[in-house]
């Protein structure tokens, strides 16, 4: 008798949860449609396209337009790859993904406060936690698509200059496709990590420029830091997985790269933590739009 009761209430509970879950999924998809069209077609998107194009254009110039560059790449493939990893590290990760994520994620909520349109979300039958999740996903999708394009586009020109059939041979048999996967995965991890940091900064700081610059500087001096501090950064974990180690110069402190099974979960946990804090913040957020 009592078991039957417990059973029915348990069934009730799970069915409610299932209804909620499907509602949340619908809502997240609806928000994604709104946010992605903003991220990809809005006026703010132009800058992102330009940014994402920079590495592709540079590789195009170095590998195709510059005849010396092209012949260097086909002659000395090993040092070309070393050069590429440095470009990937300095230009794509530390600059394009960094600033692109700053732009996308700092504006996730800020942009709508500036436009005075955030209240429309707050006045829908929508949990604010679901809104935070949806906005973060929208930012991730935009960042992932754009910066994957930067990475893959750059690699394309590198391989193109290598010449056929050497490039296909390397791709299939020389470990090429594993490298490309690694570059791609690192790009996505960078979006994840920097996305979380800048969503946090965008919400918790009135003026995000200073903390943004601090993070930027911190990531750049990372190679000089003592081992323990080194691990308090995004770039350390990203560099740990580069297919070819990047040369940090004579002053760098040497630290063993962190294993994938530590670094990826660490980044995910960090992201989860930041999302939780953001959700708490957004739950308490008041619509004032700095006026009246």
């Amino acid at each position: 008798m009592i078991f039957a009761k417990i059973k029915t209430s348990l069934i009730g509970l799970t069915s409610v949860d299932r209804a909620s879950l499907s509602l949340w999924r619908c809502q997240i998809l609806a928000i994604l449609r709104i946010e992605l069209s903003k991220n990809f077609w809005g006026r703010r998107a132009m800058l992102l396209y330009l940014l994402a194009l920079v590495p592709v254009v540079i590789l195009f110039l170095l590998a195709i337009v510059d005849p010396d560059g092209a012949s260097d790449i086909s002659r000395d493939w090993n040092s070309s790859q070393q050069a590429f990893v440095n470009i990937f590290d300095a230009l794509i990760l530390r600059s394009v993904v960094f600033f692109g994520s700053t732009w996308i994620f700092m504006n996730l909520f800020r942009g709508e406060v500036v436009d005075r349109s955030l209240h429309y979300y707050f006045l829908a039958p929508l949990r604010r936690e679901v809104l935070v999740a949806a906005k973060y996903i929208a930012g991730m999708v935009a960042a992932a698509v754009l910066f994957s394009f930067s990475t893959l586009g750059s690699i394309f020109f590198l391989y193109y200059a290598r010449g056929y059939p050497a490039n296909i041979d390397f791709l299939l048999d020389g470990g090429g496709w594993q490298q490309i996967l690694a570059y791609e995965a690192i790009t996505l991890l960078a979006c994840l990590g920097y996305g979380a940091i800048f969503m946090f900064i965008g919400l918790f700081f009135r003026n995000p420029i200073i903390p943004g610059l601090v993070v930027y500087g911190w990531e750049w001096i990372n190679f000089l830091l003592p081992p323990l501090l080194k691990k308090i950064s995004i770039i350390h974990y990203l560099e740990s997985h580069l297919p070819i180690p990047v040369d940090e110069g004579p002053f760098a402190t040497i630290v063993a790269p962190t294993a994938v099974w530590i670094s990826v979960p660490s980044l995910l946990i960090f992201t989860g933590l930041v999302l939780t804090l953001t959700a708490i913040r957004i739950r308490r957020m008041e619509i004032r739009y700095g006026m009246e």
Binding site: C26, A30, G42, L123, L126
Partner: protein
């Protein structure tokens, strides 16, 4: 006979205060709003928007508790299935058309594509914007923007609709049209809470009026009750003039003047009147007809009367 309502039908403020830092928004509000049309009337800065933002969870009370139909404003998932809010912000998401604006937020509600389309068009039809719906909101006139925001907030057919100064800034035509829509919604059983800073703009359509000033509720009740309560309460005015004795004698003859008292400096007098409209008309007449030179007529700060004077938008030209 009074109808007894259950808490699930009411909007209840229990000892609610809101401070913006040091600035008082509203203070110690105890208010129960019943179904029907309720107007929230008070001058600018009196706390109308604050009350409405509190109801809808856009801001949180410093003290006290609020329930709408038994639901806390901190639970938007439940609240906004049954409540709609058309606020004062005349702003929109970037680059949307009228239809996209209404439709996209219906999808956020969780409606399927078909249902959302249907409800969006219904709402747009209701505010008579079908033709403009495919144009960008950025190109709309003020009245059209107001109407598309109204459509957006009623599209999910809420039971309670909260509207912050919905008539403000509309031309007479648009105003009449908007009032017609409100009446229609009320007839269909929707409860409306409408704010305004002009009493006579809303009192004829309201079942109840709540008067608010400086963050405090001054009076509430049926429209006639509130009017009577105010009218029974004399307004005090100070008049500066060259011949106060003479003027005192003349104004005291009027039936609506209950008291006339000389100012100690003999340069003016205090008058209490139960009918500010009539009183200001009389002052205008006296200024023209008599030999008394009237320098100024100022209502002495007496909350209820001063607010009332402000709200009825008296033609007397007194500064409040």
């Amino acid at each position: 006979m009074r109808v007894e309502y259950r808490p699930e039908e009411l909007i209840v403020f229990e000892d609610v205060s809101k401070f913006y830092g040091e600035i008082l928004g509203v203070n110690r509000i105890n208010l129960t709003i019943e179904p029907g049309i309720t107007s929230l009337v008070g001058p600018n800065g009196s706390g109308k928007t604050t009350l409405m933002n509190l109801m809808t969870g856009l801001i949180q009370p410093t003290r006290g508790e609020i329930r709408l139909l038994g639901i806390a404003p901190t639970d938007p998932e439940q609240l906004f299935r049954r409540v709609g809010y058309c606020g004062q912000f005349d702003s929109f998401p970037r680059g949307v058309t009228g239809y996209q604006f209404v439709n996209s937020f219906l999808r956020v509600h969780g409606y399927e594509k078909r249902q959302a389309e249907e409800k969006a068009w219904q709402a747009i039809e209701r505010v008579d914007l079908v033709e403009a719906a495919s144009r960008k909101v950025a190109g709309y006139s003020k009245g059209m923007r107001q109407r598309i925001r109204l459509a957006q907030s009623i599209a999910h057919e809420p039971q309670v609709m909260i509207l912050d100064e919905p008539l403000n800034g509309l031309d007479p035509m648009a105003r009449a049209e908007t009032i017609r829509i409100f009446r229609e919604l009320a007839r269909e059983g929707m409860h409306l809470i409408i704010s305004s800073h002009i009493l006579h703009e809303v009192d004829t359509m309201s079942d109840r009026v709540v008067l608010i000033n400086n963050g405090y509720i001054l009076a509430e009740g049926g429209v006639t009750g509130v009017r009577e309560e105010i009218e029974d309460h004399p307004m005090q005015v100070m008049i500066r003039c060259n011949l106060p004795r003479e003027l005192a004698a003349r104004v005291f003859a009027a039936p609506h003047v209950v008291e006339a008292q000389l100012h100690p400096d003999r340069q003016g007098l205090f008058v209490k009147t139960t009918d500010p409209d009539e009183f200001f008309l009389m002052m205008n007449r006296l200024a023209i007809e008599s030999s008394v030179v009237i320098e100024s007529v100022t209502p002495v700060d007496d909350d209820l009367a001063a607010v009332y004077h402000y709200l009825i938008g008296s033609s007397g030209g007194g500064e409040v």
